[in-house]
């Protein structure tokens, strides 16, 4: 599979995403500079974490206008798989590829720690290697992960099973205490109605190898490979 990792000015998990796909999963990766306008030959697109444009103004607000985003939108419209992680998720929201917006964390602080998320929908291209209801331990690292959307949109997302990951306790209970940032309905990750665009705040690329002590995140990438019928 050919994975395209978009590099915005200020992206800083771009190398981490490349490492996972290339060195851990043996796929071929192209780093795509934000000024490029073609995604020819790419099978899946990753918008990595980081601080595109310093997170100035609002997270993702400036990156969404990068030249490459036109190609990303067209790619998504054609059904191409797109994953936005952390800042990538924020960019997808600002670009309108996913509904909603991010507010500052409830604590106002940047938070970096392991959290638990529950796989609410295991029938997506990004979760099919998981069991339904499975609890994954994945780290978050962000200051603006407090997801918000209006009640109508939220109801529609719930009805369509678009809420893929929710913050939960290690036992899988979705409680306010398990919510690290104040996110609406404990939302940690969502997909678009068509099911080909995923945005998630936790960083699966940070826990996909034994040497880092945790492999839960690898399931997200294995799901994608499975959906794309790639053998690993």
């Amino acid at each position: 599979m050919n994975v395209g990792v978009i590099v915005f000015p200020g992206s800083n998990c771009d190398h981490d995403c490349r490492h996972v796909f290339q060195d851990v999963l043996g796929q071929s990766v192209r780093m795509i500079w934000h000024k490029e306008t073609s995604l020819a030959g790419i099978d899946a697109v990753i918008l990595p974490g980081g601080f595109s444009y310093g997170d100035y103004l609002r997270t993702g607000a400036i990156a969404r206008f990068s030249p490459v985003m036109g190609a990303v939108k067209a790619f998504a419209k054609d059904g191409g798989a797109v994953i936005g992680i952390c800042n990538g998720f924020q960019i997808l929201l600002e670009a309108g590829l996913l509904p909603g917006a991010m507010l500052r964390n409830r604590s106002l602080h940047f938070i970096c720690k392991d959290v638990h998320v529950k796989v609410e929908n295991a029938a997506t291209a990004f979760t099919e290697a998981c069991e339904s209801g499975q609890v994954l331990k994945i780290p978050v690292a962000h200051a603006d992960g407090n997801y918000y959307t209006d009640p109508v949109t939220l109801a529609a997302m719930q009805a369509n099973a678009q809420i893929v990951l929710r913050y939960c306790t290690p036992e899988g209970k979705v409680t306010p205490e398990a919510n690290p940032n104040g996110s609406l309905d404990n939302i940690a990750g969502i997909i678009n109605p068509e099911g080909n665009v995923l945005g998630m705040m936790p960083h699966p690329e940070r826990c996909a190898e034994d040497v880092l002590g945790n492999r839960d995140g690898k399931l997200i990438f294995l799901s994608l490979l499975k959906a794309m019928k790639v053998k690993v």
């Binding site: 000015p9 310093g54 690292a141 880092l212």
Partner: protein, 578 residues
């Protein structure tokens, strides 16, 4: 503009009469204001190490693994596989007291630049912090600001802050310590130095524009300064980590090509220090034309341009003919860039503005011929009392449980989770041992190795006995590494002390150096970089002597990595050591 250099002006520049005489001798004439400013920053304690250099020389700085010892932007140690680690520690104490967030943030920015100018990609930060007690709003404000500032800068840069130290003691209330350590990895044969070799090579400025930030001696009078000076010249520098991230990527891209002769960041004393140090190391001179320096504000004088401490700026010397390629790469990363001069063979740093020579100084005199002092030292009057404390006179602990709980509750011992959860300590996906253990462990991708890092110093020990305190700090750091499965391979330091013109402070400093020296020789751990921060005192009250150490260890095989916690029920617990 001709201006009489008055005694007052000299004093405002923190130069002594003798130092001024030496300047006149070097130049064969009186300096103009710009030149006076340049000498004053380069001959300041901060840049010239005038009080510490004679003692720092005693430290062991060589070893089979050492590729670059002190004197460059950072130290370099071989870790095999054709790779090396590049590391250094730096203080940003005073700025962090004035404006905690920006002071700490720009401290992190500075230490990162020190490491990536050498050609290394930074892969880990650690921070060592000293604050006054949490019972005052002022101290809490400083703690919050400093931690947020470190987080703000390091997180945005995508360099994980993997460990550190926080100690609370009221002695630091008016003088908190913010010491930041950074480590990067580079290919052994791809180390870049700050040298302006090759007469005729172009000198290129890149990064942010120059503003009136942090200009030394802001209160000074001169015909171009008016009543509004104070307002116009903020001494607080604001960091822009986004800009620095672009600078980092641009630097590494520049270095990957065969384009550069030398490169140096503009830290303290900005354009002055970077240009004269690079020239001096190569035995060359530089013609620098300020006309082309990118600036943020109109009307800046040569004095201001040469002394500005605006952040996120660099100076590189390119191979002749490669300037277009350098400019292209800088522009790709949206950086300001301009050819501002060329290397000359006459050893003179000659500064032009609008076609006129505004400063003309032998580069070596500025960079290396600053004063050296063997300051007198003697123990403080209270030292005997401290040495002869009678510990037996302390009352016995009656309720050990209560005592333990009280200890665990004290902020210095309590969990530092509130601090390190604000730091991204996992980005770059190398962090094997996160904050919370004896040392942080970070794997080196592409090898089976890892490096362990720790920062340590118990300043109370150092007050009681600076020699033993420093020795113990080295031993503690080495133990923390050993317990993580690593063999210590190098050390950096950040020596925080009071006013060196006071014999008792100088004594603490000299004793601490002796202690570090003996311990390093004993363990055969070389000191490859470091920093001295003097004048950490307010209203005559000095901080405890705080020689902070940052030690780096090598783990040959990642599966040898150890953590400090108990793992399983029923495991045996063994007490080792005397």
């Amino acid at each position: 503009m001709s201006l009489v250099i008055t005694k007052e002006l000299i004093a405002q520049h923190n130069l002594t009469d003798d130092e001024f005489k030496k300047i006149v001798e070097i130049l064969g004439r009186e300096p103009n204001l710009t030149e006076l400013g340049m000498f004053s920053v380069m001959w300041s304690e901060h840049c010239s190490y005038k009080s510490s250099r004679v003692h720092l020389k005693k430290l062991p700085t060589t070893g089979p693994r050492v590729i670059q010892g002190p004197g460059e932007n950072a130290g370099v140690v071989d870790i095999g596989d054709g790779l090396c680690v590049v590391f250094k520690m730096e203080s940003h104490n005073h700025p962090s007291f004035i404006e905690p967030y920006q002071g700490a943030a720009t401290g992190v920015g500075g230490i990162l630049r020190d490491v990536f100018t050498m050609g290394a990609r930074p892969i880990a930060l650690l921070d060592s912090l000293r604050f006054g007690g949490l019972d005052t709003a002022k101290n809490r404000h400083i703690v919050k600001g400093v931690v947020a500032g470190i987080a703000g800068y390091g997180n945005c840069m995508g360099v994980p802050t993997v460990g550190g130290e926080v100690v609370f003691n009221d002695i630091y209330s008016l003088n908190p310590l913010v010491n930041a350590f950074c480590l990067g990895v580079a290919q052994k044969d791809k180390i870049f130095l700050g040298t302006a070799a090759g007469v005729g090579n172009p000198v290129i400025y890149f990064g942010s524009k120059t503003g009136r930030d942090g200009i030394h001696g802001a209160t000074m009078a001169s015909d171009s300064f008016d009543d509004q000076s104070e307002k116009k010249r903020p001494t607080v520098q604001v960091g822009d980590p986004f800009q620095e991230k672009l600078l980092l990527e641009a630097c590494l891209e520049l270095m990957a090509g065969d384009l550069l002769v030398g490169i140096q960041d503009m830290g303290a004393a900005g354009l002055t220090s970077s240009s004269c140090e690079m020239a001096s190391r190569a035995g060359n001179g530089i013609d620098l034309d300020l006309t082309h320096v990118p600036r943020r504000e109109p009307g800046m004088t040569p004095y201001e341009l040469m002394l500005s401490e605006s952040q996120e700026r660099m100076l590189m010397v390119a191979k002749a003919g490669k300037e277009e390629e350098c400019i292209r790469i800088c522009k790709k990363w949206d950086l300001d860039v301009a050819v501002v001069g060329k290397v000359t063979g006459d050893g003179i740093l000659r500064v032009f503005d609008q076609g006129k020579v505004v400063a003309e100084i032998p580069a070596k005199s500025l960079a290396d011929d600053g004063p050296r002092y063997e300051r007198p030292y003697s123990p403080p009057g209270y030292q005997d009392m401290l040495t002869n404390l009678n510990y037996d006179a302390l009352p016995d602990v009656k309720d050990a449980n209560a005592a333990l709980l009280a200890l665990l509750e004290s902020p210095t011992i309590a969990s530092k989770r509130w601090v390190y959860e604000q730091y991204d300590h996992m980005v770059r996906t190398n962090t094997m041992v996160r904050p919370g253990s004896d040392a942080a462990v970070v794997r080196i991708k592409g090898t089976n190795k890892a490096v362990a890092m720790t920062v340590d110093c118990n300043s109370r020990y150092c007050l009681l006995n600076p020699y033993e305190g420093a020795r113990l700090a080295v031993a503690e750091a080495a133990r923390n590494l050993a317990c993580s499965g690593a063999e210590p391979i190098g050390l950096t330091d950040c020596l925080n002390f009071g006013n060196p013109e006071r014999p008792d402070i100088m004594w603490q400093f000299v004793m601490a150096i002796e202690g570090m020296k003996d311990a390093c020789e004993h363990f055969k751990i070389p000191i490859v970089s470091g920093n001295v921060s003097f004048y950490n005192e307010t209203n005559g009250l000095s901080i405890y002597p705080t020689p902070m150490l940052g030690m780096v260890g090598l783990i040959e095989s990642v599966d040898q990595t150890m953590t400090q916690w108990f793992r399983e029920d029923g495991d045996d617990i063994i007490l080792l050591g005397a």
